[in-house]
Symmetry: D2
Subunit: 150 residues, 4 copies
């Protein structure tokens, strides 16, 4: 995929850095390409549910950000990004220690984009990985609204 | 709706208290009835995205918990609750100051339950409220698994 | 809810009449109000799956139409309606003999509307009804496209 | 993927043949592998909506069947298959002339399977194809119920 904005990578990193929720949860950027963003999240006891797994909402948060920013890379400079809706399927308990969340644009539209995401968990140094969740997100390109900008 | 477990309220509160993620995000219990759970979340800068709204994932986290626990109230004692999947539609930016997340069981099945959730924002003392998100969650009753218990 | 188009009812009936799929499946209009449309579908052996229930896709088709037209009633004259996505939960087998599909607008936006739908089955003359499916649909208002008009 | 049932292919074809809805809509089987089923649907004026495109519900019906049968191939002999829920994103108008619907199992569980589907349209003899819809379906393996069998 090709972005209409040569500066899409820096623009995406700058917007990500403005999300306090990402810092609070410890989500970091692994890679930003045109139409594909990968985020990482380390297992953290503060973000677990009653069985000691990462709360489904935390997986959803990281996946939603990966999906939203994947769409954002293909938007024109100055546009804002909003998630209209997403669906997540939780396939396995998120036990950690590391979670990688990847969002890939399936369709980039002028107003509406559809992005598919996958969350894998793995151990550092291991080549094994386990799919723990999949997401489909519908993302809107917003222009001309002062409260929704990059 | 009627719970098969006379002690469902305390059982639900106990399980909720074991979720570190709820404390981390500041989610609290407003009410627990058979088939209906209401949680509350105060706007908090640490949980916002780049436009200053509550991150969609935070709204999803609170709504998922409300939906999961609504199903949990109708489960037999000793059962565990797992979210299989959910879909969330984000209808308006979550500006705060307060968010109320309500989960109501639409269908309680032996294995699979379907729960609908709504998130409203409002100001203390005001009678106005605004619908910011809706969710449909598919929840599983888990028995006989040591790693998934109330 | 109030439609910006005084003629919304006739406009909706006219559009529905132009859908060959509705005639093929035997879907009929029960009522059209601003923000709410009810369609009906009789059980028909030609539309069943291997267990003799109405195929999930048939329930989805009628519910999607009810949801899309519910949003359509609130659109300005001349606009076209497109379903961006929907999710359906199937709560009980659709055994018939009659299925009523109701779509109600949850949020009417300028570009994006969210509509919730419910499908009930019942027998003629009986006051009992059973919820067999729920839907949430995201609907787009389309203007300025010659191939997508009322 | 490997099926626990050596006879999965014939079992799937037999079940498909028992779905009157598939014959009514003109859906045919292109291929059946363990964990993957491809169905085909020709554009047909009787199944269109008001703009002349295939009705979204028809695309959903064929995709749901492809997803359900993909899960079915991995079930033990004697099990029944039920769709619990699905979500579909409609990416482009289904203009035809041919639609190919592919369901691939993402996770095969003992009780719950998750299947992802894609619908492509193309012209006979052309190597071009266009993605018109994607689906994620949650499918249940049903045993011990007389009304839900292969």
């Amino acid at each position: 995929m090709i972005s209409p904005d040569a500066d899409f990578k820096q623009r995406t990193l700058d917007s990500f850095a403005k999300q306090p929720a990402m810092a609070t949860l410890g989500v970091t950027v692994e890679s930003v390409e045109a139409g594909r963003v990968v985020l990482a999240l380390a297992h953290c006891a503060d973000l677990t549910q009653q069985h000691g797994f990462l709360h489904a909402g935390m997986v959803a948060t990281a996946l939603d950000s990966a999906c939203g920013y994947a769409a954002f890379t293909l938007m024109p400079a100055g546009a804002g990004v909003l998630t209209i809706e997403f669906k997540i399927n939780l396939l396995a308990p998120a036990r950690g220690p590391l979670l990688r969340c990847e969002g890939v644009v399936t369709k980039a539209g002028r107003t509406i984009s559809v992005v598919d995401g996958q969350a894998y968990q793995f151990a550092p140094g291991s080549s094994e990985r386990k799919l723990v969740a999949t997401m489909t997100a519908t993302i809107m390109t917003v222009t001309g609204r002062d409260d929704v900008r990059h």
